[in-house]
Amino acid sequence: MNVKKLLSNRSFKSASASVFAILFGLLIGYIILLISNPAQATRGFMIILNGGFNGGLRGVGNMLHNAMPIILTGLSVGFAFKTGLFNIGASGQFILGAFTAIYIGVKWTFLPSGTLWIVAIIGAMIAGALWGGIAGVLKAFRNVNEVITSIMLNYIGMYLVNFLVVSTVFDLTRNQSISPRAAYLPTGGMNILFPFSSANIGIIIAIVVAIIMYIVLEKTTFGFELKAVGYNREASRYAGINEKKSIILSMMIAGALAGLGGGLLYLSNTGKHIEVVDVLASEGFNGIPVALLGLSNPIGIIFSGLFVGHMNMGGFYMQRLRFVPEVIDIMIAIIIYFSALSLAFKSFIENLSRKLGGRAK
């Protein structure tokens, strides 16, 4: 089909834009390495490029685990983007999902052990959806900018979770949440593929969810409606779409995705707990560059999430050399954010040349 050819062509173009952006980010990173430690710059850079592979199968497994939550928050941000919304609130949705999962995992042990984790992650999604839904309702009915509401809901969510942890699932001596042992995620065979790594069924769920999101957005009438509302709210109303419902649903789905990320991360048997500190969950914000690099395309987000995870692991393994950890931190951040920002440039150019292409014919 001619259409399909072109479509694939378009996504090919986009993907190449992302690759270009990443190369640019990596170049900047390399320059920083050269400045800070010329002798080891090239070796350090190779380590970064190798990312998780530095640690063999285990490193790859850990990379997958590292990528899992940011793929989901990336999907959250990206899904909202596609439907015309800017979900800065993934952080709050994420931590509410995490808390709900832990709460269910700790308290609902009357459920059969094989199903507890499933109930817990469903709970995480519902909590995230409700939290995202608040911003959606305010947007739909009051036209309050969702950036404002969702930033504030991040803070309210954080304080709320601190409060809830302290009053329900608190490990006093460690100032953190109790381990939800009974609800730990199954490994899903990842322990066989990637022995001794943290990887578990979570990454599989993340990828499956990404594919589902892709299908919803691109192949279903539901996605068609959501995107239409995102592009032109008035025209969608004119076309008979319930645009308020669409906006609320978009934010709820975005929230559910972030909440799922929180649930999966904190139900992993890796010894991670919610600490009662006044700090926003960074996974929510990390979803933004992931979504940008993935061009808000769910399949693209799988890859960009893996890329970011890969970079983080690369930074970790770079500690083999004599780099100061703070230098590594800033370099990895710069690679990731410069990639994402340079993409904004690139997509701008891409956009222009796309218009050109359309006009030229």
């Binding site: 070796r43 640690g55 850990n62 890796t270 991670k272 600490e275 083999r320 004599r322």
Partner: protein
Amino acid sequence: APAEQDETFELALITDIGTIDDKSFNQGAWEGLKQYAEEKNISYKYYQPTDKSTDAYVAAIDLAVENGAKVIVTPGFLFEPAIFKAQDMHPDVKFVLLDGFPQDGTYTEFRIEDNVYSVFYAEEQVGFLAGYAAVKDGFTNLGFMGGMAVPAVVRFGYGFVQGVNFAAAEMGVNVTLKYKYLGGFGPSADYQTEAATWFQGGVQVIFAAAGGAGNSVMAAAEANNGKVIGVDIDQKGESTTVITSALKGLGISVYDALADYYAGNFKGGESVSLGVEVDGVSLPNDFSRFTTFNKAAYDAIFAKLVANTDNIRTNIKKDTDVTSASELPVTNVTVEVIG
């Protein structure tokens, strides 16, 4: 360059990316390690985990091992589950676990292998010393501000109350003591306000076992003509209001553990609580900011603690003995527990 390929680091420290615990914790341990390594010309390095989770700590330990570590120092109780795992994974590597005992993460299984040396500090003893010194120096209205009610901080606090009481009883005076956990370890204007309120209300000296929040207490002291007792390391450089500090021998104990290891008698399988007997805790050797209390008086009480005269040392109640500072057996102190 291929030569670099073989570069290894024999001594390693894993940081815990800043915990609720005192920030100086990483640093104190790191200084001991660095000092020993540089004296003996041994390669050393510290590693940052990717995440605050047991798995990430284990991965960082593995990286250190892969990079040639023979001894790994892990500061803080958050490493307990990681060391629980790592002790089996790397039987040839030695671990120094500060302020923790290997456990499975749920406190159901506690197990220490021959390659792990678990170090606790007798914070109650140094708290005792600080309280004793303060009252002996003439203070009659004191305060304790802890960061959070985690075990080490509780031990500091309890020891302080009992030291205050001991001195007051010795002198036959009655003193008052305000006691509070702030709820955080970071500096904040709120804590500063609270401390200022105390000083305004007549408190003369506050023992601030609260990490960076101690700086806020010092700022309040500066503005209100109050005094402060520092914590963990010698804090007299931070403010002229710091009369003394309750030291934990983090550096010394790491240094000693490494020395033991290279001397062939690593204390694997042991969990110790380092107190006055082994210089695990102490007050700094500078008494210039006291008015009446002095080195002689300090040495006397210190010796009594070491000798455990009249069971003075073993009688000090710890975090596991009572549930609140108000339940401590005191005779000459009115303890007001706040919050």
